[in-house]
């Protein structure tokens, strides 16, 4: 991704206006997500937290692809790793507090593996295109290990994970068996992840990543240790996937090898490409909306939906590099602005 890509309006005024609108849009989105359980019940409320966690996956990819300009086909690998970790930790330690430890360990393992792979490759200046394939291989490896080490992971049958309780030490615990209860646990976590990431992206870290995306040589010449920044970005991205995987596992009460597979990794890339890779909010919504549509339409016209997604993906690459969000930004831009 050496060519420049800009969905950014010219001028300070334009930028601050867009900043404002994205923040306002984010507040609106989370507010809507917050009141949904009051309006709906049943399946919608059961399934939405899973899609929000898909949204976290999408944001983790947007951080790498949209901001740092490095595409990863391995996000699902970290997601599955997080899910299995959560299951194993909760099995090993019976106490209700184990869930917290599971989430922590899942995020840490995601970050550690991503940091290891990332630093190993980035420090040698391995090409971005090679990185894509290495992360693809990572997905295949995790899926195959999950299938073959069935004494630990349950193989193709998958692994059952308990729904976690919200434990408060000696004060007792709140059961999250109710779907709306866990909804209100997942939503704040997703909002927090979005908020922290957005805050960091607006700051120096995000600017350095954008600098690396636009011209890495120049950033090196300016004295930035670019492999380090890329590694940190990938580690953060891996931690997000691990966290999302852990919460997904306890929400769905089930993990299977296909969560780490190539197909799921690919889906994440498609969500982000279609929604817009340079906006975290767009990626989050892309994860939620495209996954919901997939779920709905795959019951109506399963094969054609995938085909349609593939065609949309091509359109996004050839004509709309900013995805849907980019089209909106284009519409909002004043005439003659650039």
């Amino acid at each position: 991704m050496t060519t420049t890509s800009s969905a950014i309006p010219a001028g300070r005024a334009g930028r601050s206006r867009r900043l404002l609108t994205e923040n306002a849009a984010a507040v609106a989105v989370f507010a809507i997500l917050g009141v949904l359980p009051l309006l709906f019940g049943g399946y919608v409320i059961y399934i939405l937290p899973q899609y929000m966690l898909y949204g976290v996956l999408a944001m983790s990819l947007a951080l790498m692809w949209g901001y740092a300009g490095i595409l990863s086909f391995g996000q699902a690998a970290f997601f599955a790793l997080g899910g299995y970790t959560m299951g194993l930790v909760m099995q090993a330690i019976g106490a209700p507090e184990a869930a917290y430890l599971g989430i922590l360990v899942a995020a840490t393992i995601g970050a550690a593996l991503a940091a290891l792979v990332g630093y190993f490759l980035f420090s040698a200046g391995v090409r971005d295109t090679y990185f894509v394939i290495v992360t693809l291989a990572l997905s295949i490896m995790v899926e195959q290990i999950a299938v073959s080490q069935s004494q630990i992971t349950g193989g193709w049958n998958g692994m059952f994970v308990d729904r976690m309780d919200l434990a408060f030490g000696p004060l007792g615990a709140v059961s999250l068996w109710d779907d709306w209860a866990i909804y209100y646990v997942v939503l704040p976590v997703v909002a927090l992840v979005y908020g922290v990431l957005r805050w960091q992206i607006q700051g120096p870290f995000g600017k350095i990543l954008a600098g690396i995306r636009e011209n890495e040589d120049r950033m090196v010449a300016l004295g930035f240790r670019t492999p380090l920044y890329k590694t940190v970005a990938f580690a953060v991205s891996g931690a997000m996937c691990g966290l999302a995987g852990a919460l997904y596992a306890t929400h769905a009460s089930f993990v299977s090898p296909s969560l780490g597979g190539v197909l799921f990794s690919t889906e994440i890339v498609v969500w982000v490409a279609i929604a817009g890779r340079q906006s975290l909010l767009a990626a989050l919504l892309g994860g939620i909306v495209v996954a919901s549509l997939s779920n709905y339409l795959s019951s109506v016209a399963p094969e054609y939906w995938q085909l349609f997604l593939g065609l949309l993906f091509i359109l996004a690459i050839v004509f709309f590099r900013g995805g849907v969000a980019g089209v909106f930004a284009q519409l909002g831009r004043p005439r003659g602005g650039e």
């Binding site: 991704m1 050496t2 060519t3 595409l71 792979v117 190993f120 490759l121 040698a124 200046g125 391995v126 090409r127 971005d128 295109t129 090679y130 894509v132 394939i133 290495v134 693809l136 291989a137 295949i140 490896m141 195959q144 290990i145 299938v147 073959s148 190539v262 690919t266 890339v269 498609v270 490409a273 094969e303 054609y304 995938q306 085909l307 997604l309 593939g310 065609l311 993906f313 091509i314 690459i317 050839v318």
Partner: protein, 283 residues
Amino acid sequence: MYALGVAIDATLITLVLALAAFGLAIIFGLIGVINMGHGAMLTAGAYITWVCQTNGVPFLLAVLVAAVAVAVIGLVLEHVLIRHFYDRPFETLLLTWAFFLITTEVIKIIFGPEFRSVTNPLPDAITIGGIHVPAYRAAVALFALALIVTSAVVLYRTSLGIKIRGLIQNRQMAALLGLNIGLTYKLVFMAGCFMAGLAGGLITPMLSIDPYIGNVYLVRSFFVVAVGGVGQLLGGTMIGSFLIGGSETIFAVVSEQAVAQTIVFALAILVLRLRPRGVLTPR
């Protein structure tokens, strides 16, 4: 005795993998496009062969039809999309990946997710030093060797080869000397797709076909090319295939297949890191 068996097995796997990777090696090595659709092209070749054979076409003719059909599909892909993006490798990677998604879906729509199998045209085994070797596998291995050597001869001993190599070395200069760049790129891309379809057809009697058989072959083929060295069509493909396929066979002796493959992928990543330009290229 046992060692000889492993050695023969490793040789056969090396050559078959070289055949599977060769199409990717041509396109990546000569025109710098990482064809993520390579796996889907193998799968398409396999399915076309299956369709022809179930309709009574002799096996070899079926494979040829598959190769030509995949080459034509490749030509359309190149003409409609890829040729506009030769100077942007990342975009071609994404577009060929989209091609993979769409092709896999189309195959799933037409043929369903069930396993299919092709009748083995040479079901017998031959005996080498007391080891029984499946005749078909041996024939494909020999064919792969012949194919790669022939391609190398074309590339290094003919005027077409000189044109292609000149194009790789200096695109602008080649154009100034009157070489039709667009056409040469098209030819190379088609040749790579042809090889992928051919390989897909030839591997069908050795395994059962499902819409995803190309998946793992894509990553393996890529590692073959990257480990051997991009652009080193003869030696690179052979050494890469030996390191990836051969070592997988050897690890599979001591551990499960899936674990062996994981070890090999990890080793390949290690090589990518230490020798980003392949084991053949001096640092």
